[in-house]
Symmetry: C2
Subunit: 235 residues, 2 copies
């Protein structure tokens, strides 16, 4: 288990390939040392039509983010022990015909029978997202990629996904507007932040809280320690 | 809803009757102003035998904590708008005969058919708690009291409780000991902190995360705004 390997783990050179202050804070709660090298992978280059599930989409996105950083470091002759990358999206089932105003809206991607909601940049899109989520259950899905650049290409990559159910309260137009007035929705996936005032919108969650914030800590601990056990056995 | 009342709310004199840095941090995430006046109510003066459910116990404990602060302020002619007090415990079903070493252990209170676990002060008790919780579901139960000292005694008090299910992974003795070595379990209800390394012990939660940390934010927002709506109507 991760906890039994904390000391060894802290000798490793670990990279978090993300600019998100929330992911940084979550990873810090594990009391491990790491450096931050944000990925410059262009997420919009992924065509959502090519994916049949949201899982596939976030896994591919996280993988590309990590590979971009690994290749960059490789070109500088750097081989860290671990590169962590992650993509988190809000996904909700499309139960009725898609309203006209959402059809060609780039922050409402359609993958299979689900919407994948990105980060609204405007008050208008924040309102659309929160109205869509009101009174419903949705899923927060993260894809995580762990790259181990010191290993050969057939064993240097782990990917996994994690999903948390979030149940929203029924929100009045007045409440949604009051929330938008706090500016919190802007640039947050799905237009809310569970770690901030967004907590008022939520009835309950089922699964991992850190996954809703942006990185599934408990699953990360499990996967990474399984890998290190495997490595130790081979020694 | 709370969000529509944020501005008015910030004109109030609000007291958090707790010394817990975690409760302070949670309440701060709502971006409201408040002062801290810890309660000096002696929790050990409550006799667990007198309560038939854990809910009754945490509600009474939170109420006494709040009343102690209200009476103290009253004696100084202070009447704040709101005093918030809370008691959070870990509660797990007792499924078999109670082991001898837990029978007279003051951090394992028995209420009805459940254990209520307090805060371990020793490594030994931390180990006992974590071993008991391993591989099982337990509940984190908070009792919250909201006192409104400016109102008459028949309408100056709201109490409510909140429960979150927490599912623990199967923990090896080695992992429990590694966790204890981090010193995190000491003085945490149930011997773990979900907001720290304790996240590695947890499979998933069902309910409110902030409640597991020590204060149910979303329910608080609801109850307090209901009360303020009631007050407004009477004006």
């Amino acid at each position: 288990m991760f906890l039994t390997k904390l000391k060894e783990f802290n000798k490793f050179d670990i990279i978090l390939a993300s600019n998100s202050p929330r992911r940084k804070e979550l990873l810090e709660s594990l009391k491990i040392n790491f450096r931050i090298i944000p990925s410059d992978f262009d997420e919009s280059s992924l065509d959502p039509v090519k994916f049949s599930t949201v899982n596939e989409y976030v896994l591919e996105n996280s993988k590309q983010k990590g590979l971009t950083v690994m290749n960059k470091l490789n070109s500088e002759n750097q081989k860290p022990d671990l590169i962590i990358s992650c993509d988190t999206v809000i996904s909700a089932k499309i139960e009725q015909e898609i309203p006209e105003d959402l059809k060609n809206n780039p922050v409402f991607l359609q993958i299979g029978d689900r919407f994948v909601m990105g980060k609204p940049k405007t008050k208008e899109n924040s309102f659309k997202m929160l109205s869509f989520l009101s009174g419903k259950q949705h899923n927060v899905i993260s894809g995580v990629t762990l790259l181990f650049p010191k290993f050969s290409s057939d064993e240097n990559c782990i990917t996994f996904s994690n999903s948390t159910s979030v149940f929203f309260k029924n929100l009045s137009t007045e409440s949604i507007n009051a929330y938008i007035d706090t500016s919190e929705p802007i640039d947050k996936a799905g237009g809310y932040a569970i770690q901030g005032l967004g907590v008022c919108l939520i009835e309950k969650i089922d699964g991992s809280w850190s996954n809703v914030v942006g990185f599934p800590l408990s699953e990360f601990c499990e996967k990474v320690s399984e890998k290190f056990e495997e490595i130790e056995k081979k020694k």
